[in-house]
């Protein structure tokens, strides 16, 4: 790469994170540290029933016996779990009748992000359950959903209002013993979203939650549970941006999806947590467990993710294909720049007959970042005629970044058909020059190439989200190219 081009790239790469700002809101938080008493206090603050407190405590006791996983291809200093405050919520918890009643500071935050609630309500027909830090502050379109029998509320509310559903499904896909971070989450989860779509109902709008970590040094432990009953359909969008902070912030969410007979769940994520500054300081640690169970026949779960943020991303949205003819899909774009590290991918576990899975993973590495795809395709003994198609592509920008692919295959049934394709390419200065020579600036040239590379995945996103994702991609890669 020529020096001028490198300089240009560096200049562009040095642009600050656009969404770094802090909203001043009074908050209520617990002292740092984690013990049984803290777990009880979290449960008490949330006015939870005894069974929930017990569940949290079981998880906490189990967590004490576990060790942090060391196998991901990421590096970070040890986390002091006693140096984190496990609960923080805006102090006032009013119930709003209209947006006018929402704390202006919070609304301003959303405005800065360019996602004003008003517009979403009016334009998109999106019901928004906005999670600000840990407590839901605004829930809209509830009435319309109510008519159809769809439950869309915060997890805390669901625990109180719909205990039978929560008891039945919470931890049924990701048990509290699952892994270090999921177990921690089970003990201390603050809030999250709960969705239940009853039999035969097609949810008429995209359900969406904008998450945002705000309180300094407060780990955020979201817990989301989505259940689609027989023949139901739901599309859920999750998007997030976080303000600039010096301290690393731990984010260990758990998302569980359950699809019963003939049900479909589509789960889309645009993730833009603060990635740290250009020296790699600060940034979110995003250690997430996302898993869906296709429990019923002909059920389908589709994950689509666009990951541009976080200092470290460690997540594998997975599908357990239990029901015969069930389908699992994973479409992913993961971008890393500067010193970001990502170890992400999926697991497709084929158990039922004629189950099908598709994996399309597009990694983009720039700067000094490291981007790993890690995927497991497991075909169990009884999974007759299972099919999988995997495509894992890596795009490198510059020569100081890394891309790694770790595909694991476990095939225990000879009728399985498994295809795996992988490519690695590099945005070369020849390509940039070619486009320059056609009158296209270097920045636009990169966007053109990157958008071409990821279009297969973006096509899976709902329209309004795809636009936002495209914007995020170009922000994340501004000037990273040569």
């Amino acid at each position: 790469m020529s020096t001028t081009e490198t300089q240009k790239i560096e200049e562009l790469a040095n642009k600050e994170y656009k969404y770094g700002f802090v909203t001043e809101v009074e908050e209520d938080r617990l002292p740092k540290g984690l013990n049984e008493d803290i777990v009880r206090q979290i449960s008490a603050k949330k006015e939870e029933p005894e069974w929930m407190t017990e569940w949290r405590l079981k998880a906490f006791r189990h967590w004490l016996t576990m060790e942090e996983p060391k196998w991901p291809n990421v590096k970070y200093p040890p986390i002091d779990y006693q140096d984190i405050s496990y609960y923080s919520a805006p102090k006032k918890k009013p119930k709003y009748n209209s947006l006018d009643e929402v704390d202006p500071a919070i609304r301003e935050t959303y405005n800065k992000l360019g996602i004003p609630l008003e517009e979403q309500m009016m334009l998109a027909g999106v019901a928004v359950d906005a999670v600000f830090d840990s407590v839901s502050v605004a829930t809209t379109f509830k009435d319309k959903l109510k008519e159809l029998g769809i439950i869309f509320c915060s997890m805390s509310e669901a625990i109180k209002e719909h205990p039978d559903l929560v008891k039945k499904y919470l931890g049924s896909v990701v048990p509290y013993t699952d892994n270090f971070y999921a177990t921690l989450n089970s003990a201390v989860f603050s809030d999250g979203s709960f969705v239940y779509v009853p039999k035969g109902v097609r949810c008429p709008m995209e359900l969406s939650t904008y998450f945002r970590i705000n309180a300094s040094e407060t780990g955020q432990f979201e817990r989301t549970l989505i259940v689609a009953d027989e023949g139901a359909y739901v599309s859920y969008l999750e998007g997030c941006t976080a303000p600039m902070r010096d301290e690393n912030q731990l984010h260990a969410a758990v998302v569980e999806l359950v699809a019963l007979d003939n049900a479909t769940i589509k789960y889309s994520t645009v993730q833009n947590w603060y990635p740290g500054d250009k020296e790699g300081k600060g940034g979110i640690y995003n250690f997430v467990t996302k898993r869906g169970a296709c429990r019923g026949v002909n059920s389908k779960i589709s994950w689509t993710q666009v990951e541009t943020g976080s200092a470290i991303t460690w997540k594998y949205p997975s599908c357990i294909l239990q029901g015969d003819n069930s389908i699992g899909e994973f479409y992913s774009v993961a971008v890393t720049n500067n010193y970001q590290q990502a170890d992400t991918g999926t697991k497709m576990i084929h158990i039922g007959k004629n189950t099908k899975s598709t994996i399309v993973s597009k990694g983009i590495s720039a700067g000094r970042s490291n981007n790993s795809y890690r995927g497991l395709v497991k075909i169990t003994k009884k999974a007759e005629n299972a099919r999988n198609f995997s495509q894992c592509d890596s795009l490198l920008i510059g020569d100081k970044c890394g891309a790694h692919t770790f595909p694991y295959l476990e095939i225990n049934n000879s009728t399985a058909q498994v295809e795996h394709e992988a490519t690695t390419s590099k945005i070369g200065e020849d390509q940039i020059f070619y486009l320059n020579q056609r009158g296209i600036s270097t920045e636009d040239a990169v966007n053109l190439i990157v958008n071409g590379y990821v279009k297969e995945v973006l096509a899976e996103l709902p329209m309004e989200f795809a636009v936002e994702a495209q914007k995020l991609l170009s922000i994340s890669l501004e000037g990273s190219v040569g």
């Binding site: 020059f433 320059n436 020579q437 009158g439 296209i440 053109l448 071409g452």
Partner: protein
């Protein structure tokens, strides 16, 4: 004067390739630059287009009243300078249509013109693709990906037709073309000739010049233009070979 090159010296990695080029190109003219391998033909084309690996150590280039060396590669393109690449690169995932749409609109924006809407643009593509007998299916395919050598070259001329440059530089556009493809490409180029435009054809062989007949022929050798003449110079070269130039070098350069 559309293009004026004065005493141009350029080097790459410290090696001087161009050692004092002088060249004037007026609107309406077609100039051929010929020369043996390694004489600096492609370097000249790259320097004109603004490739950054080449360092201009001396001299000036004036293009359409502007100091070309002060313009970025994209601004040169927006000012109407087009390079048909000797080795067009593949850009997976970016369709020909998408590239051209972006390019056309960037150029129009630069000139203060309105962007073309989708319909107007598709019309333009259709019309120009006929010029080089390019199948419509190439429009939706990724730029040059999986194209044969001939298809890539045809695609370059197609892009040239769409972008309608003031000054087109064809860098070894004939290399790798069979006789039919050569004829198609040359026909396309000829249709793009015009009073207000100029073309510089960089080539090793004379055969392209049977189809694109130049007004002037220049022979480049060892980084300098050692001989200039009319179209008959190309034929003379073909007959006598480059050794004629090499052997008589001292004589012609004096």
């Amino acid at each position: 004067m559309l293009l004026e090159i004065k005493n141009l010296h350029a080097s790459i990695d410290g090696n001087e390739i161009l050692k004092g080029i002088d060249l004037k190109v007026d609107a309406g003219e077609v100039h051929a630059i010929m020369g043996p391998n390694g004489s600096g033909k492609s370097t000249l084309a790259s320097v004109l287009a603004g490739r950054e690996e080449y360092e201009v150590t001396q001299g000036e280039i004036w293009y359409n009243g502007k100091n070309l060396l002060e313009l970025s590669p994209e601004d040169r393109a927006r000012e109407g300078l087009f390079l048909a690449f000797q080795y067009p690169v593949e850009i997976p995932g970016v369709s020909n249509t998408n590239l051209l749409k972006t390019a056309v609109n960037e150029i129009r924006k630069y000139r203060g013109e309105e962007e073309l809407d989708a319909m107007e643009f598709l019309e333009l593509l259709k019309e120009k693709s006929k010029l080089v007998e390019l199948d419509q299916k190439f429009l939706s395919r990724s730029v040059n990906e999986g194209f044969s050598g001939g298809e890539k070259k045809r695609n370059e001329i197609f892009q040239m037709a769409v972008l309608n440059p003031k000054l087109a530089i064809l860098d070894e556009t004939d290399s790798g073309l069979d006789i039919d493809a050569l004829r198609i490409v040359a026909n396309g180029v000829n249709k793009l000739r015009g009073k207000d435009k100029a073309i510089i054809v960089v080539t090793h062989y004379q055969r392209l010049l049977n189809y694109i007949v130049p007004d002037f022929v220049h022979v480049l050798y060892n980084g300098r233009i050692v001989k200039s003449g009319g179209k008959e110079l190309a034929l003379e070269l073909e007959e006598k070979g480059y050794d004629w130039i090499k052997n008589g070098k001292s004589e012609v350069t004096v």
